[in-house]
Amino acid sequence: MINFLLIPILIPFFTGMVLIFLHKNVRLQRILSLLALFCAAFMAFLVMVKVKNEGIQSVTFGDWPVPYGITMVADGMSSLLVFTTFVLGFFIVWYGFESIGRGREQFFYYPGIMFILTGVTGAFTTGDIFNLFVFFEVLLMSSYLLIVLGGEKGQLRESIKYILVNVISSALFVISVAYLYSVVGTLSMADISVKIAEINQPGIITTIAVLFLLVFGLKAAIFPLYFWLPSSYGAAPIPVLALFGALLTKVGVYAIMRTYTLFFVHDVSYTHKLLLILAVLTILAGCIGALATFNVKQIIIYNIVIAVGVILFGVAQMNETGLEGALFYLVHDMIIKAVLFMLVGLVIYVTGTADLRNMGGLMKTYPALGWFYLIAAFGLAGIPPLSGFVGKLLIVQGGFEAGNIWSSIFLLASSLIVLLSVIRIFIYAFWGEEGKRITIEKHRYNRMFFPTAVLVVISVAYGIGSEWVVPFMDNAAKILVDPSIYVDAVMKGGK
């Protein structure tokens, strides 16, 4: 079936449309959205296996030949990310049943989730630069809805800043596409790659590369452009925060990975050096932020910034080890950030505060929560059997291979700060004297805890079972190193 790779994107899209009509019926909405996400995850898994076995899948709409129509491409990287997205979406929606509140559920919360997932997976799968812009807008529009839904004062205040930053970055995206179009005269990613190789990346293309870094860096929160992220994400309700933290910045990271491995590979000494420096500064900024605050949400939010830096550090190495590490770490980070936000959300729900200084002694009453949090925290820092280890190992190895000794050592040192920042939550909230506490019904707590626990188990399995994931990663990393595989597959697929 040639349209097979579109099914995972179409399922949430159509479900979202149906859910708009059912917005008063909360029960039906819950059942339908869980069902749809399960099916989508299953189909995404089948697509991933198909891509691994048969190579890159691509479909060009309307039977047009390749550079003239819009192409959707599922290669190793995008099919892997689409699958991860739906798995996370499934658990976050499940978690949200007990925490998002009935008022939000009746006002298009579930359609918002469905459309944001459509946008994210579409952005992962598209093979056309302007179509990427459109999918970015789909996910941004839904994120505007989700961040402001509820209309609390903090939400209104912060969403104004969030929207303003994204409107500006969208305008910059349009401008960058305009410049790129005037130089190469095409919009299909595979064709752009060919055209840039033909003219061998003159100065203007390098300028455009930096402009794209600016655009996607605003979405991904890299060093000088991360200023909007902590306050905006802090205002969102917990399930929405988990969704944003796990997915939205990662779309920006994906876009940087895609453009910097497919288009701008002929002046690496400038573009990738810049990326390397910015990645190191991003890690530094994130570390400072994560240690400076006593707000549990902000600590994890600054850890997003650190992780973005780590992944881009892997991309900047531009060798197979580094890129494979970046992919490993990208998937790990999507899972672990969702897990951490869900765990921290539980801590906030049982203590009624986000301030570490008012917490304490949770270990006596919620031992399971404590141990699961500890496992997730170790996973984030990259303690060997857990999920963060393999990715960071490969990234650092790639760094040494590329000769960036000092920055690789810096990357290793930053892991200690990451560990310190999350263990601080553990020490303050779970040890010590009994702190602030509010009563939360047992069955409500359990219903939130269960999906979180399953997701922690998944993240542990991802770490222990990395042998099984390696073939998928190898497959994906090969394409990143050698763009001609991508170009050949797409160009051939359309004829």
Partner: protein, 113 residues
């Protein structure tokens, strides 16, 4: 002709950035409007301003304008229209709830609420 358009776009961007850096929320939204006008004009200019007739197939039409940028602009216009509508309503709601349109007064942490 492209040179003139480049200056027009540059002027629009300049005005947009000036307005976005101001305090009043409404000026900021006007700034985003100008920014999107500038971006759309830039797509049109960057596609080249050649061609004698509009890109509609008709008798004896051989030299026509590039149709692709026009399609891109049409898409970008409706998107920015949707976002601007949402932004305006949000600004109205924020004015009702927060009682100010001065962005320098829109700060504070969760403890303040």
């Amino acid at each position: 002709m492209e040179i003139v358009m480049a200056f027009v776009c540059g002027f629009l961007f300049m005005a947009a950035i000036y307005l976005i850096l101001s305090r009043s929320l409404l000026r900021i939204i006007i700034g985003t409007g100008l920014l999107s006008h500038g971006a759309h004009l830039l797509i049109l200019t960057m596609g080249g301003l050649g061609g004698e007739s509009p890109p509609v197939l008709g008798e004896g039409v051989t030299d026509y304008a590039d149709p692709l940028p026009q399609a891109l602009i049409l898409t970008a216009i409706v998107i920015s229209f949707g976002v601007t509508a949402f932004f305006l309503v949000l600004a109205y709601r924020a004015y009702q709830e927060l009682g100010t349109d001065d962005t320098t007064k829109m700060k504070g942490s969760e403890e303040d609420d």
